[in-house]
């Protein structure tokens, strides 16, 4: 395996009536989301990577190290340098929060902690400092899950596996933990495989996505590529959106607007100030993107970006989904636009036609399209 493919996993076999035949590779950094409906085999794949489950036919190579091979190699779980966050926090009830956190922390022969991921940093990042001497019994669901994440990180893993860590939590608690996960992704250069069936989590966290269905991998690749592929269910979904990686160019303090550049264009969105050059994700919902053939006259719409219709697919008898490549030559980032068939025909649109994609800045604002809050 090359360095770009730090995670290489493929497993084949049957458990009862369920048959699994899934494989993917992922780069050494960033979050890879395993996404699909429940029962599609996501957890099975994750358990195979962890060695908690052994498929007779499987290969698992992490960062150049063979964990499972066709030659019969099979490292037991406790010899694999990984961190695993289960759906339920599964803290040890007989140990304090501090001792839970340190359970897997490697120690030198003199008893001192051996740490690349420092205790204080993790505790601070996850906001669990005030909980250290408490018993896990007295923690809320969100607090427990944060401790579980910290415990996994402090075992100094080379790979972090997360199995729907937020699915057992209510909406408010989810929103409390998501920013922690975003900070983790940005601060620690650790590959993460993240299982979810919630597209919102994928859009906020994932860099790569592996789409699964009935034990198979439907498609795998960078998130934006799969989001804008009309042959996949992601783009055809009612709430389809693309996630773009924007670089902060300017902040207009007077209006509270951030200017973000993406390949082939520039977006303006209401957001808190951010340092120039930082990365921010922008989520553009297909239903919020309208198309025009001519640059419109005075308009309240702040984002009007030239591009070209790259492909088109019919959703049903009344709606059309168009993929618009931004930039004059259509070489930039891709947006999805969901239109009525009526508009499509009235504007005489077709593949290859130059258009202006229009997105209200408000549609990218807090609580709506983006994660700039």
């Amino acid at each position: 395996m090359t360095a770009e493919n730090a995670i290489h996993a493929e497993f084949k076999g049957t458990i009862g009536k369920f048959s699994l035949d899934a494989g993917f590779t992922s780069p050494e950094k960033g979050v890879t989301a395993l996404f699909g409906p429940s029962g599609c085999g996501k957890t099975t794949v994750l358990r195979c990577i962890a060695g908690l489950l052994r498929m007779s036919d499987g290969v698992c190579e992490i960062d150049g190290e063979l964990w499972q091979g066709r030659d019969g190699t099979f490292l037991p779980t406790h010899k694999r340098p990984l961190g695993y966050v289960f759906q339920e926090a599964s803290l040890f009830p007989h140990l304090s929060v501090r001792r839970n956190l340190l359970f897997g922390a490697p120690r030198r022969s003199d008893g001192a902690l051996r740490q690349t991921i420092a205790f204080d940093e993790v505790v601070d990042l996850l906001g669990v400092t005030p909980l250290l001497d408490r018993s896990p019994r007295n923690l809320s669901g969100g607090e427990r899950q944060r401790v579980a994440i910290g415990r996994a990180l402090l075992s100094q893993p080379k790979l972090l596996l997360m199995d729907e860590p937020l699915s057992a939590l209510d909406r408010a608690t989810k929103n409390e933990i998501l920013p922690f996960l975003e900070r983790l992704r940005d601060r620690l250069s650790l590959p993460v495989v993240y299982i979810t069936h919630d597209i919102a989590e994928v859009e906020r966290l994932a860099d790569q996505i592996v789409l699964m269905e009935k034990g198979h991998v439907l498609a795998a690749g960078p998130l934006a590529d799969l989001q804008s592929d009309p042959s996949l269910p992601l783009a055809m979904a009612r709430d389809a959106a693309v996630t773009l990686d924007g670089i902060v160019e300017a902040h207009d303090a007077r209006y509270g607007l951030l200017t973000l550049s993406v390949p082939g264009g520039r977006f303006v969105a209401p957001a808190l100030p951010a340092p120039i050059g930082e990365h921010r994700r922008i989520r553009v919902i297909a239903g919020d993107v309208s198309l025009a053939r001519e640059p419109p006259g005075p308009s309240s719409i702040l984002n009007i970006i030239p591009g070209r219709v790259a492909s088109v697919r019919s959703v049903d008898s009344s709606e059309i989904l168009a993929v618009v490549a931004l930039g004059a030559g259509g070489s930039g980032a891709r947006l999805l636009s969901r239109l009525t068939r009526k508009s499509w025909e009235q504007l005489d649109l077709a593949e290859g036609v130059n258009v202006y994609a229009q997105v209200k800045a408000v549609a990218l604002g807090p609580g709506r399209g983006d994660f700039l809050e």
């Binding site: 908690l52 406790h78 695993y84 289960f86 339920e88 599964s90 897997g104 019994r137």
Partner: protein, 227 residues
């Protein structure tokens, strides 16, 4: 004073026997319960059945086979030969061995249940945190099963104290060597020493009451702490 020593001797012997039996049982029954709770071997339930047999067999049946096994022509005789004795029957060591078998099911069952109730998850978590199976057992499984271990120990102790038939079969009723409380009461009644019999029997009632009450209270506390 003479009479008092007479009563006191079987009490001390009973406590000694129950303590040694309980400690031995924890050492033997814990790994056995672990295996019964976690193994996927098809024949494990057959093993579990053998372990449970003393619960339903008449003590005389169990005692009879133990007597043969401990006797001069059984394995017990061979072991006794190591220190020049002829048999383990009618010795304190024989009582310990017999009590271990007789009380085994009462210790294995609660420990097995405790291991089974915790499920795979805590051990999986421990493994993902680099804990070897040994470390996972000592640091996670045992502490989580501690209420079961406690119940098992109390049950084993109490059942050993209360065992009569097996003891009589393999130990006889030798004062100072194999006469425990249950057989002493039998002996006092046979010889019409009602006062002594009353003291011992009353003591056993108080003991049994205390054991059961404390078990109920412990269970209540544990389930409240776990909630």
């Amino acid at each position: 004073m003479e009479a008092f020593a007479h009563i006191w001797q079987p009490v001390v012997l009973t406590i000694e026997l129950a303590t040694i039996t309980t400690l031995s049982l924890l050492v033997v029954a814990t790994p056995l319960a672990w295996w019964l709770a976690r193994s996927r071997a098809w024949w494990k339930e057959a093993v579990a059945t053998v372990v449970s047999l003393p619960m339903v067999l008449p003590p005389t049946v169990l005692g009879f086979y133990l007597l043969i096994a401990l006797g001069p022509s059984g394995p017990g005789g061979a072991v006794a030969g190591l220190w020049g004795a002829r048999t383990l029957a009618f010795t304190f060591t024989g009582l310990v061995i017999g009590s271990i078998f007789a009380s085994m099911p009462f210790v294995v069952q609660p420990i097995r249940n405790a291991f089974a109730a915790m499920g795979d998850r805590p051990l999986e978590v421990a493994a993902t945190l680099r804990a070897s199976p040994m470390r996972a057992f000592w640091m996670v499984a045992l502490p989580l099963a501690s209420p079961g271990l406690l119940t098992g120990a109390v049950m084993g102790f109490a059942h050993t104290v209360g065992e009569f038939g097996v003891i009589l079969m393999i130990g006889g009723n030798i004062p100072g060597r194999t006469r425990v409380m249950s057989t002493a009461i039998f002996d006092y009644v046979e010889t019409m020493q009602w006062r002594e019999a009353n003291i011992l029997a009353g003591g056993m009632v108080v003991f049994a009451f205390a054991v059961i009450l404390s078990m109920i209270l412990i269970e209540k506390r544990v389930s409240r702490a776990r909630a």
